[in-house]
Assembly symmetry: D3
Homo-oligomer: 171 residues x 6
């Protein structure tokens, strides 16, 4: 299968935080952002493989700073690495200062999608070719995250997670 | 602060999967479920601490089997453990067979919430007292997950994650 | 048809009142609550009979006290009695005090659903077996409400509404 | 307070039944129609009294024939009678045949609204002057419905419901 | 094809401006009004021709005065003229003063719809018969607007737009 | 006021056409696209002037080819020219072929926004500096469109619309 560049899957979505998107503190509530991230990540995964894709896993997502009502929020999603029929997607979330227009990164999330046929059976997807330094770094660390996911799902023996073990053991 | 039983935070939500909740395969799309989980988890966290709560992290979530259009989906959220001002919440997702009514567990997710004051500063929350075997098991494993989250966030040295190391090293 | 216990149809739904659910006084508007009640009542009716169900009637519903923006609202629906192919469902609405967590009953409504086949023709449903005192009381009074509904729909002669006549005439 | 004609409160709303408004049989689900009726009835009540109004009660509503997906649904609401601070509103629901354009009445509902001040306290509303035969008939029967509502709410002794008793007793 | 009166296509829709319909100044945002206008104009076009209709063009729409949160907004749509398979619809937007009830016209828009068959191919529609002075005026000016649209779409030579030329040249 | 490049206001939004966005032919309905265009155009106008902006006019919009259910739709908005306190924004709409991924332009629209202060009074905005050939072409033709808008609004004498007259008269 012909490899594709990471940048070919770049997908951008811009949202305006409306009253119904906010919690009692007038900040964007987490669940709405999780949904927005899933939608744009699905578009990115689809652009990489041109197949119907379904969400497989959501990796660790952290909500650092609150996003205020009426903010303009931009999500940028890009496939970081592909494994047989699954794709790991990074979603970077930016918020603009309404006065200066300065964009600040407020969140980062990692979702995994799987390409499926009409019956929901997995289909192979093309490999990813990273180009920029960031793409390369995310490509490299994807293997470690995959091992962690497999261990957490009970599908891999921690002993075999060679990449991950290095975090804990200096051999 | 007076401890509270895990069961006191049990929160239940029932949804009917409508056309707009589905993807091209007529199954519930992941982003919608992530939002539903966040909302009911927030209710559960609030019931535990009686404070305004905000989503802090979403831990590893896996989507195993597709949930079909028109399914009745029940979410049950319960606080599994509290750490100073944060609460870990387990969300169990069940789908009912429309004919037999048999409930099958389709998903499980873990979210973390933080109790905050008007300015968004963290507030202390009561400890959790587990009662059932499952509550005890989730309470125990919460520490390991917390260490993993702190490492991933770069706030803890892997060397110090004593609980987590045991997964990889038989000392 | 094998009778079923009232408690087997218990269905719970929890809502957080968002800005778009409120009227000009920042309280939950009636129409939204009516919709929430219909949805959870339909789930309850479905759980009783395991058939597609459609709303047949809404009985007298009273809105006593306003429900404030950001409240946590819990709806509990349960089938009170079944008549051939129709089911009467009670929906109890509770609001929690955000500080004390005390649950207060704010509304009570009664809906009737009918089980139907693909063409919309009515299908028989199982009888209901009440267990608690409240279930028994609601089961007993259901007949009176049914007679009232039939009279209002012009399908029963007031003379024949024996249960209902007792309200007005001490014989 | 200067009386107003019933027709002055006529309020019309037109809806197109979208996928998310339908149940599993591809018909408009009851809860959505209840919400639409509440919204247009509130507009009608507001037009009668020019005050903030809140839903007080929903009287018996019957769903006779299913309304299909993609139907054009028209709701017409009009105040039928006023009592001190409450107003009874009739909502007539019409569905158009997409080919012939023939309008058929599919539902009729009665809601009661109360005019309130900023604190939610009731405010007096103008009396209603019926003109057409239908307006007169609805005006007359409103008293009977009010007595029934008061009895069901336990606020009136059945003995005193003179209008209603006539239904059951030929004196 | 039998002509129809303009008034036969009159379609009315009433909206209550909710929080999610507003911009940062607490006024109805333009995009929401554009959607409401499209929906009621489609109903009007459908009532004229009794066919499936699709939006063809939106002519110049001006937003003069802001519409405040919680306003009651009434849209009245009516077919002004028909050309083979297309229909021009005028939408008049009125806002009511909440205290006096005085209706003020706040906007006016012109949309064009086309009647189509299952494959999206255009179908002929009946001619329009104007009755009132306003209907006649809108009927007459429709030709000029059509020529302008054709020129802007590059489908007509400005030289041939006899109606429109008169605006610029006194011959 | 310091001029800004057209490209600085580029705003991108990606949508997935859901069931509720479609008409009876399973195509995206016009009103929904008009709303999406308004939202992203507002973001673009805001990025140009860093002020609260409100929709002033919608110029001629044509819907050429239907957009199918489940399509991925990308909107790109950019300020084409500024006049004192108003900004003209071009919105280009692209649809992707799900299999080949080929992007096809399906629509083009022009909206005008005005920058306003807290009271809704207009505020000056920076001039636009076009760079690409397309930006220059749109910048140049903006004056003609503005004259047309002023004539249609009755605020300019056709005699004075020098730019526009050239369309009709070869002097």
């Amino acid at each position: 299968m012909k490899p594709k560049f990471a940048r070919e899957s770049l997908s951008i979505s811009t949202h305006h935080v409306l009253p119904n998107d906010t919690n009692n503190l007038q900040n964007l509530f987490g669940g709405r952002l999780l949904e927005w991230m899933d939608v744009i990540a699905a578009v990115s995964a689809h652009r990489h493989c041109r197949r119907v894709v379904v969400t497989a896993t959501v990796n660790h997502v952290a909500f650092h700073s609150p996003i205020k009502y009426a903010s303009i929020v931009t999500l940028e999603a890009k496939v970081s690495r592909a494994f047989t029929s699954s794709m790991e997607i990074f979603i970077d979330v930016f918020v603009e200062d309404p006065v200066t227009g300065e964009k600040e990164k407020s969140n980062e999330a990692i979702y995994t999608f799987v390409a499926v046929d009409q019956n929901g059976s997995p289909l192979p997807v093309p490999p990813v070719v990273p180009e920029t330094e960031e793409e390369q770094k995310r490509f490299d660390s994807a293997l470690r995250r995959r091992q962690l996911a497999l261990i957490l799902a009970g599908k891999m023996n921690p002993e075999d997670a060679t990449e991950l073990r290095r975090l804990f053991i200096s051999e």
